[in-house]
Amino acid sequence: MGRYVARRLLQMIPVFLGTTLLIFLMVYALPGDPIRALWGEKAADPVALAALRHKYGLDLPMWHQYWNYLVKLAHLDFGTTYSDRPVSQAMGIAFPVTIRLTAVAFTIELVLGIGLGLFAGMRAGRAADTIVLIFTLVVISVPVFVLAFILRQVFSTQGLNWVTPTVQNSYDVTQLLLPAFVLASASLAYVARLTRTTVAENLRADYLRTAVAKGLPRRRVIGVHLLRNSLIPVVTFLGTDLGALMGGAIITEGIFNIQGVGLLLFQGLQRREGATVVGVATVLVLVYLATSLIVDLLYAVLDPRIRYA
Protein backbone atom coordinates (compact mmCIF):
# COMPACT_ATOMS: atom_id res chain seq x y z
CA MET A 1 0.00 0.00 0.00
CA GLY A 2 2.66 2.51 1.06
CA ARG A 3 4.85 1.57 -1.89
CA TYR A 4 1.92 1.93 -4.26
CA VAL A 5 1.15 5.42 -2.95
CA ALA A 6 4.80 6.40 -3.22
CA ARG A 7 4.96 5.17 -6.82
CA ARG A 8 1.78 7.02 -7.73
CA LEU A 9 3.09 10.21 -6.13
CA LEU A 10 6.30 9.92 -8.16
CA GLN A 11 4.28 9.42 -11.36
CA MET A 12 2.34 12.57 -10.57
CA ILE A 13 5.41 14.77 -10.68
CA PRO A 14 5.83 14.79 -14.50
CA VAL A 15 2.08 15.26 -14.97
CA PHE A 16 2.07 18.15 -12.51
CA LEU A 17 5.11 19.76 -14.18
CA GLY A 18 3.58 19.27 -17.64
CA THR A 19 0.20 20.65 -16.68
CA THR A 20 1.55 23.72 -14.91
CA LEU A 21 3.95 24.36 -17.80
CA LEU A 22 1.05 24.16 -20.23
CA ILE A 23 -1.07 26.57 -18.19
CA PHE A 24 1.93 28.82 -17.78
CA LEU A 25 2.51 28.94 -21.55
CA MET A 26 -1.21 29.47 -22.21
CA VAL A 27 -1.27 32.45 -19.86
CA TYR A 28 2.06 34.09 -20.67
CA ALA A 29 3.05 33.06 -24.19
CA LEU A 30 -0.22 33.81 -25.97
CA PRO A 31 -0.52 37.28 -27.54
CA GLY A 32 -1.45 40.28 -25.42
CA ASP A 33 0.55 42.44 -23.04
CA PRO A 34 -1.03 42.88 -19.60
CA ILE A 35 1.48 45.50 -18.44
CA ARG A 36 0.84 47.65 -21.50
CA ALA A 37 -2.88 47.19 -20.84
CA LEU A 38 -2.51 48.94 -17.46
CA TRP A 39 -2.31 52.22 -19.39
CA GLY A 40 -5.48 51.45 -21.30
CA GLU A 41 -5.97 53.81 -24.23
CA LYS A 42 -3.28 56.23 -23.08
CA ALA A 43 0.28 56.20 -24.37
CA ALA A 44 2.49 54.14 -22.06
CA ASP A 45 5.59 55.58 -20.45
CA PRO A 46 8.40 53.32 -21.76
CA VAL A 47 10.57 53.71 -18.65
CA ALA A 48 7.73 52.79 -16.29
CA LEU A 49 6.70 49.99 -18.63
CA ALA A 50 10.17 48.46 -18.56
CA ALA A 51 10.41 48.92 -14.78
CA LEU A 52 7.08 47.14 -14.23
CA ARG A 53 8.02 44.31 -16.62
CA HIS A 54 11.24 43.85 -14.68
CA LYS A 55 9.43 43.96 -11.33
CA TYR A 56 7.08 41.12 -12.28
CA GLY A 57 9.85 39.20 -14.01
CA LEU A 58 8.14 39.45 -17.40
CA ASP A 59 11.33 40.57 -19.15
CA LEU A 60 13.01 37.21 -18.55
CA PRO A 61 12.96 34.36 -21.09
CA MET A 62 9.95 32.07 -20.77
CA TRP A 63 11.88 29.09 -19.30
CA HIS A 64 13.38 31.38 -16.68
CA GLN A 65 9.95 32.74 -15.75
CA TYR A 66 8.65 29.18 -15.37
CA TRP A 67 11.66 28.24 -13.25
CA ASN A 68 11.07 31.26 -11.00
CA TYR A 69 7.44 30.25 -10.66
CA LEU A 70 8.40 26.71 -9.63
CA VAL A 71 10.95 27.95 -7.10
CA LYS A 72 8.42 30.33 -5.58
CA LEU A 73 5.75 27.61 -5.60
CA ALA A 74 8.08 25.38 -3.59
CA HIS A 75 7.97 28.12 -0.93
CA LEU A 76 4.15 28.30 -1.26
CA ASP A 77 4.52 31.75 -2.82
CA PHE A 78 2.09 32.28 -5.70
CA GLY A 79 3.41 35.74 -6.62
CA THR A 80 1.52 39.02 -6.45
CA THR A 81 -1.24 40.61 -8.47
CA TYR A 82 -0.57 43.81 -10.41
CA SER A 83 -1.96 45.72 -7.45
CA ASP A 84 0.75 44.12 -5.28
CA ARG A 85 -1.62 41.91 -3.34
CA PRO A 86 -0.22 38.43 -2.68
CA VAL A 87 -2.15 35.88 -4.74
CA SER A 88 -2.03 33.47 -1.82
CA GLN A 89 -3.92 36.03 0.28
CA ALA A 90 -6.63 36.45 -2.38
CA MET A 91 -6.92 32.69 -2.73
CA GLY A 92 -7.00 32.28 1.05
CA ILE A 93 -10.20 34.33 1.11
CA ALA A 94 -11.76 32.90 -2.04
CA PHE A 95 -11.03 29.18 -1.67
CA PRO A 96 -12.92 28.59 1.61
CA VAL A 97 -16.03 30.09 0.00
CA THR A 98 -15.72 27.84 -3.05
CA ILE A 99 -14.94 24.83 -0.86
CA ARG A 100 -18.16 25.40 1.11
CA LEU A 101 -20.13 25.73 -2.14
CA THR A 102 -18.47 22.65 -3.62
CA ALA A 103 -19.02 20.64 -0.44
CA VAL A 104 -22.76 21.36 -0.49
CA ALA A 105 -22.89 20.66 -4.25
CA PHE A 106 -20.94 17.43 -3.86
CA THR A 107 -23.27 16.25 -1.09
CA ILE A 108 -26.31 16.98 -3.25
CA GLU A 109 -24.68 15.18 -6.18
CA LEU A 110 -23.79 12.17 -4.05
CA VAL A 111 -27.12 11.75 -2.25
CA LEU A 112 -29.52 12.67 -5.04
CA GLY A 113 -27.44 11.16 -7.85
CA ILE A 114 -26.88 7.77 -6.23
CA GLY A 115 -30.40 7.80 -4.76
CA LEU A 116 -32.07 8.48 -8.10
CA GLY A 117 -29.80 6.00 -9.87
CA LEU A 118 -30.56 3.25 -7.36
CA PHE A 119 -34.28 4.04 -7.52
CA ALA A 120 -34.29 3.86 -11.33
CA GLY A 121 -31.92 0.92 -11.61
CA MET A 122 -34.06 -1.23 -9.31
CA ARG A 123 -37.03 -0.50 -11.57
CA ALA A 124 -35.21 -0.76 -14.91
CA GLY A 125 -37.59 -0.74 -17.85
CA ARG A 126 -40.58 0.51 -15.88
CA ALA A 127 -42.27 3.89 -15.89
CA ALA A 128 -40.34 5.26 -12.89
CA ASP A 129 -37.09 4.37 -14.64
CA THR A 130 -38.14 6.16 -17.82
CA ILE A 131 -39.12 9.28 -15.87
CA VAL A 132 -35.73 9.40 -14.16
CA LEU A 133 -33.97 8.88 -17.52
CA ILE A 134 -35.90 11.72 -19.15
CA PHE A 135 -35.26 13.96 -16.13
CA THR A 136 -31.51 13.32 -16.29
CA LEU A 137 -31.44 13.84 -20.05
CA VAL A 138 -33.15 17.22 -19.69
CA VAL A 139 -30.87 18.28 -16.83
CA ILE A 140 -27.78 17.37 -18.86
CA SER A 141 -29.06 19.25 -21.90
CA VAL A 142 -30.03 22.53 -20.26
CA PRO A 143 -26.82 24.56 -19.95
CA VAL A 144 -25.85 25.48 -16.39
CA PHE A 145 -26.28 29.22 -16.84
CA VAL A 146 -29.80 28.81 -18.25
CA LEU A 147 -30.76 26.52 -15.37
CA ALA A 148 -29.33 29.05 -12.91
CA PHE A 149 -31.48 31.87 -14.26
CA ILE A 150 -34.64 29.78 -14.46
CA LEU A 151 -34.30 28.40 -10.92
CA ARG A 152 -33.37 31.78 -9.51
CA GLN A 153 -36.39 33.33 -11.18
CA VAL A 154 -38.67 30.63 -9.77
CA PHE A 155 -37.34 30.37 -6.22
CA SER A 156 -36.15 33.88 -5.38
CA THR A 157 -38.00 37.12 -4.74
CA GLN A 158 -39.62 37.06 -8.19
CA GLY A 159 -41.43 33.77 -7.64
CA LEU A 160 -41.79 31.63 -4.54
CA ASN A 161 -39.57 33.90 -2.44
CA TRP A 162 -37.86 30.95 -0.75
CA VAL A 163 -34.30 32.16 -1.22
CA THR A 164 -32.39 35.37 -1.74
CA PRO A 165 -31.43 35.90 -5.40
CA THR A 166 -27.75 36.24 -4.52
CA VAL A 167 -25.66 34.76 -1.75
CA GLN A 168 -24.96 37.31 0.96
CA ASN A 169 -23.34 35.05 3.51
CA SER A 170 -21.55 31.96 2.32
CA TYR A 171 -21.58 30.47 5.84
CA ASP A 172 -25.36 30.19 5.59
CA VAL A 173 -25.95 26.79 4.01
CA THR A 174 -29.58 27.60 3.17
CA GLN A 175 -28.38 30.42 0.92
CA LEU A 176 -25.89 28.08 -0.74
CA LEU A 177 -28.45 25.37 -1.48
CA LEU A 178 -29.76 26.79 -4.76
CA PRO A 179 -26.37 27.66 -6.31
CA ALA A 180 -25.00 24.33 -5.13
CA PHE A 181 -27.87 22.48 -6.77
CA VAL A 182 -27.26 24.38 -10.02
CA LEU A 183 -23.54 23.63 -9.82
CA ALA A 184 -24.17 19.96 -9.14
CA SER A 185 -27.02 19.50 -11.63
CA ALA A 186 -25.18 18.11 -14.66
CA SER A 187 -22.91 15.85 -12.59
CA LEU A 188 -25.91 14.72 -10.58
CA ALA A 189 -27.57 13.54 -13.76
CA TYR A 190 -24.43 11.70 -14.89
CA VAL A 191 -24.09 10.01 -11.49
CA ALA A 192 -27.74 8.96 -11.59
CA ARG A 193 -27.40 7.45 -15.07
CA LEU A 194 -24.12 5.71 -14.23
CA THR A 195 -25.55 4.27 -11.00
CA ARG A 196 -28.72 3.19 -12.79
CA THR A 197 -26.80 1.28 -15.47
CA THR A 198 -24.53 -0.60 -13.08
CA VAL A 199 -27.31 -1.30 -10.59
CA ALA A 200 -29.52 -2.71 -13.36
CA GLU A 201 -26.57 -4.84 -14.52
CA ASN A 202 -25.65 -6.13 -11.07
CA LEU A 203 -29.27 -6.96 -10.22
CA ARG A 204 -28.87 -9.92 -12.55
CA ALA A 205 -25.59 -11.08 -10.97
CA ASP A 206 -25.29 -14.50 -9.41
CA TYR A 207 -24.02 -13.22 -6.07
CA LEU A 208 -27.11 -11.07 -5.68
CA ARG A 209 -29.43 -14.01 -6.29
CA THR A 210 -27.41 -15.97 -3.74
CA ALA A 211 -27.70 -13.15 -1.23
CA VAL A 212 -31.48 -13.05 -1.67
CA ALA A 213 -31.74 -16.84 -1.60
CA LYS A 214 -29.91 -17.23 1.67
CA GLY A 215 -32.47 -14.94 3.24
CA LEU A 216 -30.48 -11.81 3.95
CA PRO A 217 -32.60 -8.79 4.86
CA ARG A 218 -33.40 -6.58 1.90
CA ARG A 219 -31.54 -3.63 3.37
CA ARG A 220 -28.33 -5.68 3.53
CA VAL A 221 -28.76 -7.09 0.03
CA ILE A 222 -29.16 -3.63 -1.45
CA GLY A 223 -26.76 -1.70 0.77
CA VAL A 224 -23.86 -4.15 0.91
CA HIS A 225 -24.14 -6.54 -2.02
CA LEU A 226 -25.74 -4.41 -4.71
CA LEU A 227 -24.64 -0.87 -3.96
CA ARG A 228 -21.06 -1.58 -3.01
CA ASN A 229 -20.42 -3.46 -6.23
CA SER A 230 -22.18 -0.87 -8.31
CA LEU A 231 -20.28 2.07 -6.94
CA ILE A 232 -16.87 1.55 -8.56
CA PRO A 233 -17.55 3.42 -11.85
CA VAL A 234 -19.54 6.01 -9.89
CA VAL A 235 -16.63 6.67 -7.54
CA THR A 236 -14.33 7.13 -10.55
CA PHE A 237 -16.64 9.77 -11.92
CA LEU A 238 -17.17 11.48 -8.54
CA GLY A 239 -13.43 11.69 -7.98
CA THR A 240 -12.60 13.42 -11.24
CA ASP A 241 -15.68 15.58 -10.83
CA LEU A 242 -14.62 17.25 -7.58
CA GLY A 243 -11.96 19.30 -9.35
CA ALA A 244 -14.33 20.02 -12.22
CA LEU A 245 -16.94 21.32 -9.76
CA MET A 246 -14.46 23.79 -8.30
CA GLY A 247 -13.34 24.89 -11.76
CA GLY A 248 -16.90 25.00 -13.11
CA ALA A 249 -18.05 27.21 -10.25
CA ILE A 250 -16.98 30.18 -12.36
CA ILE A 251 -20.47 30.47 -13.89
CA THR A 252 -22.50 29.68 -10.80
CA GLU A 253 -20.43 32.05 -8.70
CA GLY A 254 -20.85 34.82 -11.23
CA ILE A 255 -24.63 34.49 -11.43
CA PHE A 256 -25.22 34.14 -7.69
CA ASN A 257 -22.55 36.67 -6.76
CA ILE A 258 -20.48 34.31 -4.63
CA GLN A 259 -17.04 35.72 -3.87
CA GLY A 260 -15.18 32.50 -4.60
CA VAL A 261 -12.41 31.15 -6.77
CA GLY A 262 -14.45 31.36 -9.97
CA LEU A 263 -14.96 35.07 -9.56
CA LEU A 264 -11.31 35.57 -8.58
CA LEU A 265 -10.26 33.67 -11.70
CA PHE A 266 -12.63 35.58 -13.95
CA GLN A 267 -11.40 38.92 -12.65
CA GLY A 268 -7.83 37.69 -13.03
CA LEU A 269 -8.54 36.80 -16.65
CA GLN A 270 -10.14 40.15 -17.40
CA ARG A 271 -7.22 42.04 -15.87
CA ARG A 272 -4.81 39.56 -17.47
CA GLU A 273 -3.15 38.93 -14.13
CA GLY A 274 -1.07 35.91 -14.95
CA ALA A 275 -0.13 35.19 -11.34
CA THR A 276 -3.78 34.92 -10.23
CA VAL A 277 -4.83 32.69 -13.14
CA VAL A 278 -1.80 30.40 -12.87
CA GLY A 279 -2.13 30.25 -9.08
CA VAL A 280 -5.80 29.21 -9.11
CA ALA A 281 -5.18 26.75 -11.94
CA THR A 282 -2.24 25.22 -10.06
CA VAL A 283 -4.36 24.60 -6.98
CA LEU A 284 -7.14 23.08 -9.12
CA VAL A 285 -4.65 20.75 -10.80
CA LEU A 286 -3.36 19.68 -7.37
CA VAL A 287 -6.95 18.98 -6.28
CA TYR A 288 -7.48 16.90 -9.42
CA LEU A 289 -4.29 14.88 -8.87
CA ALA A 290 -5.10 14.30 -5.20
CA THR A 291 -8.66 13.17 -5.87
CA SER A 292 -7.59 10.77 -8.62
CA LEU A 293 -5.15 9.16 -6.16
CA ILE A 294 -7.87 8.90 -3.50
CA VAL A 295 -10.21 7.31 -6.06
CA ASP A 296 -7.62 4.65 -6.87
CA LEU A 297 -7.21 3.89 -3.18
CA LEU A 298 -10.99 3.71 -2.72
CA TYR A 299 -11.18 0.93 -5.32
CA ALA A 300 -9.46 -1.36 -2.83
CA VAL A 301 -12.01 -0.48 -0.17
CA LEU A 302 -14.96 -1.13 -2.47
CA ASP A 303 -13.60 -4.22 -4.17
CA PRO A 304 -11.49 -6.44 -1.90
CA ARG A 305 -10.15 -8.30 -4.94
CA ILE A 306 -8.10 -5.20 -5.78
CA ARG A 307 -4.89 -5.20 -3.75
CA TYR A 308 -2.09 -2.70 -3.97
CA ALA A 309 1.32 -4.12 -3.25
Binding site: I23, V142, P143, V146, F149, G254
Partner: protein, 316 residues
Protein backbone atom coordinates in the same frame (compact mmCIF):
# COMPACT_ATOMS: atom_id res chain seq x y z
CA UNK B 1 -33.89 -9.43 -31.79
CA UNK B 2 -35.71 -10.70 -34.88
CA UNK B 3 -33.34 -12.25 -37.30
CA UNK B 4 -35.05 -11.25 -40.51
CA UNK B 5 -32.54 -9.36 -42.55
CA UNK B 6 -33.02 -8.46 -46.15
CA UNK B 7 -30.38 -7.91 -48.73
CA UNK B 8 -31.11 -4.21 -48.56
CA UNK B 9 -29.59 -4.08 -45.09
CA UNK B 10 -26.19 -5.30 -46.09
CA UNK B 11 -24.86 -2.91 -48.74
CA UNK B 12 -23.12 0.21 -47.67
CA UNK B 13 -21.40 -1.57 -44.82
CA UNK B 14 -17.73 -0.72 -45.28
CA UNK B 15 -16.29 -3.31 -42.94
CA UNK B 16 -15.71 -7.03 -43.05
CA UNK B 17 -17.74 -9.13 -40.61
CA UNK B 18 -16.58 -8.62 -37.08
CA UNK B 19 -16.29 -12.09 -35.59
CA UNK B 20 -12.95 -11.17 -34.11
CA UNK B 21 -13.66 -7.80 -32.51
CA UNK B 22 -15.42 -9.61 -29.74
CA UNK B 23 -18.80 -9.92 -28.21
CA UNK B 24 -21.24 -9.76 -31.08
CA UNK B 25 -23.01 -13.02 -31.74
CA UNK B 26 -22.84 -13.29 -35.49
CA UNK B 27 -24.98 -16.10 -36.81
CA UNK B 28 -22.93 -18.38 -39.00
CA UNK B 29 -25.48 -18.55 -41.79
CA UNK B 30 -26.19 -14.86 -41.91
CA UNK B 31 -23.04 -12.81 -41.27
CA UNK B 32 -23.93 -9.27 -40.45
CA UNK B 33 -21.41 -6.52 -39.86
CA UNK B 34 -21.40 -4.42 -36.71
CA UNK B 35 -22.54 -1.46 -38.79
CA UNK B 36 -25.50 -3.02 -40.56
CA UNK B 37 -26.48 -4.59 -37.25
CA UNK B 38 -26.30 -1.22 -35.53
CA UNK B 39 -28.23 0.45 -38.32
CA UNK B 40 -30.89 -2.26 -38.05
CA UNK B 41 -31.21 -1.49 -34.33
CA UNK B 42 -31.12 2.26 -34.76
CA UNK B 43 -34.00 2.46 -37.21
CA UNK B 44 -36.21 0.76 -34.65
CA UNK B 45 -35.14 2.99 -31.77
CA UNK B 46 -37.62 5.84 -31.17
CA UNK B 47 -34.92 7.93 -29.46
CA UNK B 48 -32.81 7.74 -32.60
CA UNK B 49 -35.73 8.70 -34.82
CA UNK B 50 -36.71 11.67 -32.64
CA UNK B 51 -33.15 12.96 -32.30
CA UNK B 52 -32.49 12.35 -35.99
CA UNK B 53 -35.50 14.43 -37.03
CA UNK B 54 -34.55 17.18 -34.57
CA UNK B 55 -30.98 17.27 -35.87
CA UNK B 56 -32.17 17.39 -39.49
CA UNK B 57 -34.36 20.39 -38.64
CA UNK B 58 -31.52 22.10 -36.77
CA UNK B 59 -29.10 21.49 -39.66
CA UNK B 60 -31.62 22.88 -42.15
CA UNK B 61 -32.09 25.99 -40.02
CA UNK B 62 -28.32 26.39 -39.73
CA UNK B 63 -27.66 25.97 -43.46
CA UNK B 64 -30.60 28.00 -44.75
CA UNK B 65 -32.01 30.33 -42.09
CA UNK B 66 -33.55 32.38 -44.91
CA UNK B 67 -36.12 29.63 -45.37
CA UNK B 68 -37.59 30.34 -41.96
CA UNK B 69 -37.48 34.12 -41.69
CA UNK B 70 -37.01 37.00 -44.08
CA UNK B 71 -35.93 39.35 -41.33
CA UNK B 72 -32.33 40.12 -40.58
CA UNK B 73 -31.35 39.24 -37.01
CA UNK B 74 -29.42 42.51 -36.84
CA UNK B 75 -32.32 44.78 -37.79
CA UNK B 76 -33.32 46.63 -34.65
CA UNK B 77 -36.30 48.99 -34.65
CA UNK B 78 -36.95 50.67 -31.32
CA UNK B 79 -40.60 51.05 -32.30
CA UNK B 80 -40.93 47.43 -31.18
CA UNK B 81 -39.13 48.03 -27.93
CA UNK B 82 -42.27 48.54 -25.84
CA UNK B 83 -44.36 46.04 -27.76
CA UNK B 84 -42.03 43.28 -26.93
CA UNK B 85 -44.22 40.49 -25.60
CA UNK B 86 -44.36 37.37 -27.76
CA UNK B 87 -47.45 36.78 -29.93
CA UNK B 88 -47.52 33.03 -29.68
CA UNK B 89 -50.13 32.60 -32.41
CA UNK B 90 -48.18 34.54 -35.06
CA UNK B 91 -46.37 31.48 -36.37
CA UNK B 92 -43.10 32.18 -38.20
CA UNK B 93 -43.78 35.95 -38.06
CA UNK B 94 -41.21 38.40 -36.73
CA UNK B 95 -43.12 38.99 -33.50
CA UNK B 96 -43.75 35.29 -32.83
CA UNK B 97 -41.17 35.26 -29.99
CA UNK B 98 -41.43 39.01 -29.32
CA UNK B 99 -38.67 41.59 -29.59
CA UNK B 100 -35.56 42.18 -27.52
CA UNK B 101 -34.58 45.43 -25.85
CA UNK B 102 -33.05 46.74 -29.07
CA UNK B 103 -36.23 46.01 -31.02
CA UNK B 104 -34.75 43.03 -32.85
CA UNK B 105 -36.94 40.05 -33.61
CA UNK B 106 -36.19 37.30 -31.09
CA UNK B 107 -37.51 34.76 -33.60
CA UNK B 108 -35.07 35.87 -36.30
CA UNK B 109 -32.20 35.85 -33.82
CA UNK B 110 -33.12 32.38 -32.58
CA UNK B 111 -33.22 31.10 -36.17
CA UNK B 112 -29.92 32.69 -37.16
CA UNK B 113 -28.22 31.65 -33.91
CA UNK B 114 -28.34 27.99 -34.94
CA UNK B 115 -25.55 28.45 -37.46
CA UNK B 116 -22.85 29.55 -35.01
CA UNK B 117 -23.68 26.73 -32.61
CA UNK B 118 -23.69 24.07 -35.31
CA UNK B 119 -20.45 25.34 -36.88
CA UNK B 120 -18.61 25.42 -33.57
CA UNK B 121 -20.02 22.06 -32.49
CA UNK B 122 -19.19 20.24 -35.73
CA UNK B 123 -15.81 21.89 -36.23
CA UNK B 124 -14.69 21.22 -32.64
CA UNK B 125 -15.85 17.61 -32.85
CA UNK B 126 -14.03 17.06 -36.15
CA UNK B 127 -10.82 18.63 -34.87
CA UNK B 128 -10.78 16.79 -31.57
CA UNK B 129 -11.79 13.49 -33.15
CA UNK B 130 -9.04 13.66 -35.78
CA UNK B 131 -6.32 14.77 -33.36
CA UNK B 132 -7.44 12.56 -30.48
CA UNK B 133 -8.05 9.63 -32.81
CA UNK B 134 -4.58 9.86 -34.35
CA UNK B 135 -2.83 10.21 -31.00
CA UNK B 136 -4.84 7.36 -29.51
CA UNK B 137 -4.25 5.12 -32.50
CA UNK B 138 -0.48 5.68 -32.51
CA UNK B 139 -0.24 5.21 -28.74
CA UNK B 140 -2.35 2.06 -28.82
CA UNK B 141 -0.74 0.45 -31.87
CA UNK B 142 2.92 1.09 -31.18
CA UNK B 143 2.87 0.79 -27.38
CA UNK B 144 6.21 1.03 -25.60
CA UNK B 145 7.83 4.41 -25.20
CA UNK B 146 5.57 6.05 -27.82
CA UNK B 147 2.56 5.03 -25.75
CA UNK B 148 4.26 6.19 -22.54
CA UNK B 149 5.03 9.64 -23.98
CA UNK B 150 1.66 10.14 -25.68
CA UNK B 151 -0.29 8.90 -22.66
CA UNK B 152 1.53 11.33 -20.37
CA UNK B 153 0.75 14.09 -22.90
CA UNK B 154 -2.93 13.14 -22.70
CA UNK B 155 -2.72 13.16 -18.89
CA UNK B 156 -1.24 16.65 -18.95
CA UNK B 157 -3.98 18.07 -21.17
CA UNK B 158 -6.64 16.16 -19.25
CA UNK B 159 -5.50 17.65 -15.94
CA UNK B 160 -6.49 21.19 -16.91
CA UNK B 161 -10.12 22.01 -16.12
CA UNK B 162 -11.87 22.28 -19.50
CA UNK B 163 -13.75 25.54 -18.99
CA UNK B 164 -10.79 27.25 -17.31
CA UNK B 165 -8.43 26.20 -20.09
CA UNK B 166 -10.67 27.41 -22.91
CA UNK B 167 -11.21 30.70 -21.07
CA UNK B 168 -7.47 31.25 -20.75
CA UNK B 169 -6.82 30.46 -24.43
CA UNK B 170 -9.72 32.54 -25.76
CA UNK B 171 -8.86 35.45 -23.50
CA UNK B 172 -5.70 35.97 -25.54
CA UNK B 173 -7.66 36.68 -28.73
CA UNK B 174 -9.43 39.99 -29.23
CA UNK B 175 -11.10 38.81 -32.47
CA UNK B 176 -12.92 35.56 -31.78
CA UNK B 177 -14.39 33.90 -34.87
CA UNK B 178 -16.14 30.51 -34.75
CA UNK B 179 -12.86 28.96 -35.98
CA UNK B 180 -10.88 30.41 -33.07
CA UNK B 181 -13.52 29.27 -30.59
CA UNK B 182 -13.53 25.77 -32.11
CA UNK B 183 -9.73 25.56 -32.03
CA UNK B 184 -9.57 26.57 -28.39
CA UNK B 185 -12.28 24.08 -27.42
CA UNK B 186 -10.58 21.29 -29.36
CA UNK B 187 -7.23 22.25 -27.81
CA UNK B 188 -8.33 20.62 -24.55
CA UNK B 189 -11.17 18.49 -25.88
CA UNK B 190 -9.21 15.85 -27.81
CA UNK B 191 -7.97 13.95 -24.75
CA UNK B 192 -11.10 11.89 -24.19
CA UNK B 193 -11.16 10.71 -27.81
CA UNK B 194 -7.49 9.79 -27.53
CA UNK B 195 -8.09 7.69 -24.40
CA UNK B 196 -11.06 5.88 -25.93
CA UNK B 197 -9.25 5.25 -29.22
CA UNK B 198 -6.14 3.97 -27.47
CA UNK B 199 -8.09 1.41 -25.48
CA UNK B 200 -10.06 0.36 -28.51
CA UNK B 201 -6.96 -0.05 -30.71
CA UNK B 202 -5.18 -2.09 -28.03
CA UNK B 203 -8.05 -4.57 -27.94
CA UNK B 204 -8.27 -4.75 -31.75
CA UNK B 205 -4.58 -5.08 -32.62
CA UNK B 206 -4.40 -8.60 -31.13
CA UNK B 207 -6.89 -9.86 -33.71
CA UNK B 208 -5.90 -12.53 -36.22
CA UNK B 209 -6.65 -10.42 -39.26
CA UNK B 210 -4.14 -7.85 -38.07
CA UNK B 211 -1.48 -10.52 -37.70
CA UNK B 212 -2.45 -11.86 -41.12
CA UNK B 213 -2.06 -8.44 -42.69
CA UNK B 214 1.32 -8.05 -40.99
CA UNK B 215 2.41 -11.48 -42.22
CA UNK B 216 1.37 -10.58 -45.77
CA UNK B 217 3.67 -7.60 -45.58
CA UNK B 218 1.13 -4.80 -45.44
CA UNK B 219 2.61 -1.42 -44.57
CA UNK B 220 1.89 0.20 -41.22
CA UNK B 221 -0.44 2.91 -42.64
CA UNK B 222 -2.43 0.23 -44.46
CA UNK B 223 -2.77 -1.90 -41.34
CA UNK B 224 -3.73 1.13 -39.27
CA UNK B 225 -6.29 2.64 -41.62
CA UNK B 226 -7.69 -0.37 -43.47
CA UNK B 227 -7.65 -3.06 -40.81
CA UNK B 228 -7.56 -1.47 -37.37
CA UNK B 229 -9.43 1.81 -37.78
CA UNK B 230 -12.73 0.43 -39.14
CA UNK B 231 -12.88 -2.07 -36.30
CA UNK B 232 -11.79 0.29 -33.53
CA UNK B 233 -13.72 3.41 -34.45
CA UNK B 234 -17.14 2.51 -32.98
CA UNK B 235 -16.55 3.74 -29.39
CA UNK B 236 -14.94 6.90 -30.77
CA UNK B 237 -18.04 7.68 -32.79
CA UNK B 238 -20.15 7.36 -29.65
CA UNK B 239 -17.90 9.69 -27.66
CA UNK B 240 -17.78 12.19 -30.52
CA UNK B 241 -21.54 12.34 -30.95
CA UNK B 242 -22.17 12.95 -27.28
CA UNK B 243 -19.39 15.52 -27.05
CA UNK B 244 -20.83 17.44 -30.02
CA UNK B 245 -23.72 18.43 -27.77
CA UNK B 246 -21.31 19.26 -24.97
CA UNK B 247 -19.24 21.51 -27.27
CA UNK B 248 -22.33 23.44 -28.37
CA UNK B 249 -23.16 23.94 -24.72
CA UNK B 250 -19.56 25.02 -24.02
CA UNK B 251 -19.63 27.57 -26.85
CA UNK B 252 -22.81 29.10 -25.46
CA UNK B 253 -21.27 29.17 -21.98
CA UNK B 254 -18.15 30.95 -23.22
CA UNK B 255 -20.21 33.42 -25.27
CA UNK B 256 -22.40 33.97 -22.21
CA UNK B 257 -19.29 34.84 -20.18
CA UNK B 258 -18.28 37.31 -22.90
CA UNK B 259 -15.16 35.33 -23.85
CA UNK B 260 -16.67 33.35 -26.72
CA UNK B 261 -18.14 34.55 -29.99
CA UNK B 262 -18.60 38.28 -30.47
CA UNK B 263 -21.48 40.48 -31.39
CA UNK B 264 -21.76 40.63 -35.18
CA UNK B 265 -22.01 36.83 -34.99
CA UNK B 266 -25.50 35.81 -33.86
CA UNK B 267 -25.15 33.26 -31.07
CA UNK B 268 -27.62 31.93 -28.53
CA UNK B 269 -25.00 32.38 -25.80
CA UNK B 270 -24.60 36.08 -26.58
CA UNK B 271 -28.38 36.55 -26.71
CA UNK B 272 -28.87 34.83 -23.36
CA UNK B 273 -26.14 37.01 -21.88
CA UNK B 274 -27.74 40.23 -23.09
CA UNK B 275 -31.17 38.97 -22.00
CA UNK B 276 -30.05 38.65 -18.39
CA UNK B 277 -30.24 42.44 -18.10
CA UNK B 278 -33.97 42.46 -18.88
CA UNK B 279 -34.94 39.10 -17.39
CA UNK B 280 -37.25 40.63 -14.75
CA UNK B 281 -39.75 42.19 -17.17
CA UNK B 282 -39.04 40.36 -20.41
CA UNK B 283 -38.10 36.77 -19.63
CA UNK B 284 -39.06 35.75 -23.18
CA UNK B 285 -35.85 37.32 -24.50
CA UNK B 286 -33.92 34.73 -22.47
CA UNK B 287 -36.43 31.92 -22.84
CA UNK B 288 -36.44 31.30 -26.61
CA UNK B 289 -32.69 31.17 -27.32
CA UNK B 290 -32.30 29.08 -24.16
CA UNK B 291 -34.95 26.62 -25.35
CA UNK B 292 -33.34 26.41 -28.81
CA UNK B 293 -29.93 25.80 -27.24
CA UNK B 294 -31.24 23.15 -24.86
CA UNK B 295 -33.11 21.29 -27.61
CA UNK B 296 -30.02 21.27 -29.81
CA UNK B 297 -27.81 19.90 -27.04
CA UNK B 298 -30.52 17.40 -26.10
CA UNK B 299 -30.79 16.15 -29.70
CA UNK B 300 -27.08 15.39 -29.97
CA UNK B 301 -26.89 13.74 -26.55
CA UNK B 302 -29.91 11.58 -27.42
CA UNK B 303 -28.31 10.63 -30.73
CA UNK B 304 -25.11 9.68 -28.93
CA UNK B 305 -27.10 7.57 -26.46
CA UNK B 306 -28.92 5.77 -29.25
CA UNK B 307 -25.70 5.14 -31.19
CA UNK B 308 -24.02 3.79 -28.08
CA UNK B 309 -26.91 1.41 -27.39
CA UNK B 310 -26.69 0.17 -30.98
CA UNK B 311 -22.90 -0.23 -31.06
CA UNK B 312 -22.21 -1.53 -27.57
CA UNK B 313 -22.29 -5.31 -27.69
CA UNK B 314 -22.48 -5.53 -23.89
CA UNK B 315 -26.04 -4.20 -23.88
CA UNK B 316 -27.41 -6.94 -26.12
Amino acid sequence: MPDTITAADAPGAPTPPVEATGGIPVKAEKPRSLWSDAWYDLRRNPIFVISGVLILIILTVAVAPGLFTGTSPRDGDLVHHFLSNPKLTHFFKDDWFGYDNQGRSVYARTVFGARASVIVGVLTTLLSTVVGGLVGMLAGYFGGWIDAVLSRLVDVFFGIPFLLGSLVVLNAFSERSPLIVSLSLAFLGWTQTARVMRGSVISVKQADYVHAAQALGAGTPRILFRHILPNAVAPVIVVSTISLGAYISAEATLSFLGIGLQDPTVSWGIDIDSATAVIRNDPHVLFFPAIALSITVLAFIMLGDAVRDALDPKLR
